[in-house]
Symmetry: C2
Subunit: 137 residues, 2 copies
């Protein structure tokens, strides 16, 4: 079963990637890494450069770990949820993995509109993971 993971260069994105790798080992499918440029319409050259470098690290890691995968970078101004849905359809994926933020200092979950859109629009199961917690004593 192919697995689509929404990747962003953040602890949440890394947690989602870790989980997607684990799921691909369990389920025997390929990992489809989808990166949508975030930050609205005003990404500059530095953002693109950072994004490309992050995706190269992702590719190198998956390659080194022997995980069948492909990567998609979308910079076409669509909502990330639409990019993910497109990848689900293109790769006939059976699972989506996304990273979600932990609660803020005020205890309120910062469940972004992207996460809500993905939960709303995806017909396949969505696995929501948080960044790794600091190790408790």
């Amino acid at each position: 079963m192919n697995i689509v993971v929404g990747y962003v260069d953040s602890p949440e994105g890394e947690a989602a990637l870790d989980q997607a790798i684990e799921e691909s080992r369990l389920r025997g499918g390929k990992v489809v890494v989808v990166h949508s440029m975030v930050g609205g319409d005003h990404e500059d050259t530095d953002d693109y450069r950072r994004s490309a470098a992050a995706m190269e690290r992702v590719h190198d890691r998956l390659h080194a770990e022997g995980v069948e995968h492909c990567t998609h970078e979308y910079v076409r101004g669509q909502e990330p949820a639409r990019d993910l849905m497109g990848a689900v359809a293109d790769h006939q994926a059976g699972l989506v993995v996304i990273g979600i933020r932990s609660r803020s200092a005020t205890g309120k979950l910062i469940l972004g509109s992207n996460a809500l859109d993905i939960l709303r629009d995806t017909s396949v199961p969505v696995l929501c993971v948080k960044r790794k917690a600091a190790v408790a004593g």
Copy 2:
């Protein structure tokens, strides 16, 4: 890895249970079915009877399918999210499965406060599934 599933007697609850069974087969753990009485503080005797009957069906199904499991019915007036978290801790579960509603006729996701609470409060990954769609032609 043990798997906690939030069960309600609805198409979403059945979808969550189906997925939890699948995950337990993949991951080799037991399924912990948690049912919190819904509908606030005013459940009547019929509600309890229906709930008990539904949980008996769940038990019978898991037993017939040879799935190692246990069931918990909570009627102690806590929020369902707290009951689920308690089960995660008690059974050292590594995954939570919940059913979420599809979008409403107006296209708005009815992501209930229970689902949001669970996403906020759970440290382990949460797998969100929707009811089975009608089969497309």
